[in-house]
Symmetry: C2
Subunit: 383 residues, 2 copies
């Protein structure tokens, strides 16, 4: 269940010394082919990091053979010099593995506004390239962690082909928190166009609906490389469905490990006039600090849910809104429903269900509560 | 410096027993004329409370003679029964003071989704009406406090006429946090149309730019009553300028007393292509939990400022952005500027200056840091 689950991939993680903690900080994932088809989606933040600029260009032709990732520095807001650092990192991987430089993507995460120590990074890249192995997925996943407390990996096998993946971060793609980096691999044989379509759909339904704190990173990147090593061309729908499963697994792991979270919250919006409306309402609730603090305090505060719904442009009538916490409908028809004392929020998982009674569409947004520990981590940690 | 500063106003605050704490909870402000001209602005939340529905109708004809306010219950999401409670409260004031019921506005603040105990509220209204006095401004300001630690009052005198005001809450109008209620009074002689224009301009420049936590209340209300008792008709520009001053004073007091805040932050955006761009950028920064935690932690984290700017649609080039914390330009031209160690964030007041280098417009947004105490207050207090 890692990026090396599919055939045709090797990976490695190593310690270059970028982090004061001395933990692993450089990873490489290598697609050994025969196919080099790839797709990627990036942060939509207009202030984006040098590696994002580099990787956008690298994947523009639908081809990638390797991805090099580092924690311990985001290489964002570092200007032309920072961009040269990303290019030099890609060049080093290309040189060591005998690849075209434009087929190497670069991902970075860590503090913004600080140059990477290239004298440490490049030897680390050399070591990672030398250590590439079909069993290296777990090492790679460990090397991209920042404030993550556990590595995140997922994978699935459908008949003859597989999808593998790893992720770091505690947030989402657009918008996203504390940089999210995701590397997905498959040995299915698909064109770059097919990969791009599947990746955009999977991202829309999973990472885009995991909203930990509403902040969008300068470095968010999700890549998908296909080696074609299984020799199988799956049907597009089947591949997309499997990719959604893997991405949803990773998204849940990200939310479960979000900074300082005590509760994992699923906000399910039903009865919406459109999927967009459902998503808009769920996201607005997920971004309400008052709502998030209430969950931390074990308070099924449906008034704060209604306040959040009320600022959206979704179709609804305020007198039709139903809100349930863990199955107890504390607000029915926009008014007081069942006794809030019946709600038990002591468990880690909380499900908030909103019925807009305006249509048949639905969407679920994943988020966290707002806790002392979130404040502590983000007051003390510089990103 | 209270709502009874201008001639032609009496006020009172009393204890009806709506709050478990036993503190004052009902206020009445009475315009004794000769004019009854008034204006008001309300929350734009589509889920709005019964008193907002009542008061919108009451002020629709540009006339108000009294405002009755209660803390200890928001009367929001209480349906038709809650609306009848607001109407009954207005009727009681009209009866006691011999006014037309449609000239009485009602404001409520406190827990959402709970009916008001009318058996306690109405006797409290009677007591307040009986206690109305030209010296009652301070008592009225104390009676509308919820999580406020101090009452908020302001006032100014220009020649023969004055403006007075009181406020409660820790937020803003649109969007707003923990209900903001503001009552403004003047003895200038102005038409309802003139009052409405001045109030909308003042609100736009002050309360709308104080964004404590980005959450919009169901009950936010700002009213302005003119008694005309000075007999003076000020020039519109002079009146608006004075009103802006009073509102800005109250807005600063609201931010200074925001829930759990350790720092008061002024985000000044300059060099914008339009005032709207400047406001958009300032607001996005003010809503970044990561930025707000960094200030709490004493960290001049300009990367989080740039991340927030990057999600707006304002005109700028990422390579032109300058960001200063308390006068130290830690980011110049989108890159590392002066040493961040030079920034001292130990004081209560923090000024973040952003130059977009895209034009000549500017705006300042006031906000707070995100602290343990904010989480504590909002995890433990039900609104």
């Amino acid at each position: 269940m890692s990026v090396t689950l599919p055939k045709g991939f090797t990976a490695a993680g190593t310690t270059a010394g970028l982090k004061p903690s001395g933990k692993p900080d450089v990873a490489v994932v290598h697609n050994t082919g025969p196919s080099v088809a790839a797709g990627a989606v990036f942060t939509t933040n207009r202030v984006f990091a040098a590696p994002v600029k580099w990787s956008r260009q690298a994947v523009a032709d639908g081809q990638l053979q390797a991805i090099v990732l580092n924690s311990g520095g985001a290489n964002a807001c570092t200007g032309a010099a920072g961009y040269k650092d990303s290019a030099a990192t890609a060049a080093r991987v290309a040189d060591r593995l005998g690849l075209i430089i434009d087929n190497v993507a670069v991902c970075s995460t860590g503090l913004i506004g600080v140059r990477l120590p290239m004298d440490k990074l490049l030897p680390g890249v050399d070591a990672a390239c030398a250590g590439l192995s079909p069993d290296g997925g777990a090492d790679a996943a460990a090397a991209i962690m920042t404030t993550d407390t556990v590595p995140k990996q997922a994978g699935t096998t459908v008949g003859e082909w597989s999808i593998g993946g790893m992720a770091k971060g505690a947030g989402m793609l657009a918008p996203g928190l504390a940089t999210m980096l995701v590397v997905l691999t498959t040995d299915a044989d698909l064109t770059a166009q097919e990969l791009d379509a599947a990746l955009r759909e999977a991202t829309r339904l999973t990472f885009d609906r995991a909203d930990s704190d509403g902040c969008m990173s300068t470095n968010d990147t999700v890549t998908l490389m296909a080696s074609g090593a299984s020799g199988v061309r799956p049907e597009a729908g089947a591949f997309t469905a499997a990719l959604v499963d893997v991405c949803q697994d990773l998204a849940r792991q990200l939310i479960a490990d979000a900074e300082g979270a005590h509760h994992e919250i699923a906000i399910e919006v039903t009865g919406a006039a459109s999927e967009r409306d459902a998503e808009t309402v769920g996201r607005e609730i997920a971004r309400s600090n008052l709502f998030k603090c209430a969950i931390f305090g074990g308070d099924p505060n449906w008034g704060r849910v209604l306040s959040a719904i009320g600022v959206t442009d979704a179709a609804f009538d305020a007198d039709d809104l139903d809100v349930s916490f863990n199955g107890v409908m504390v607000c029915r028809g926009g008014q007081i429903g069942e006794d809030r004392a019946l709600v038990d929020l002591s468990g880690r998982h909380v499900r908030v269900t909103v019925d807009l009674h305006a249509g048949r569409a639905s969407a679920t947004i994943l988020t966290n509560d707002l806790t002392y520990d979130y404040v502590k981590e983000n007051a003390e940690y510089s990103t």
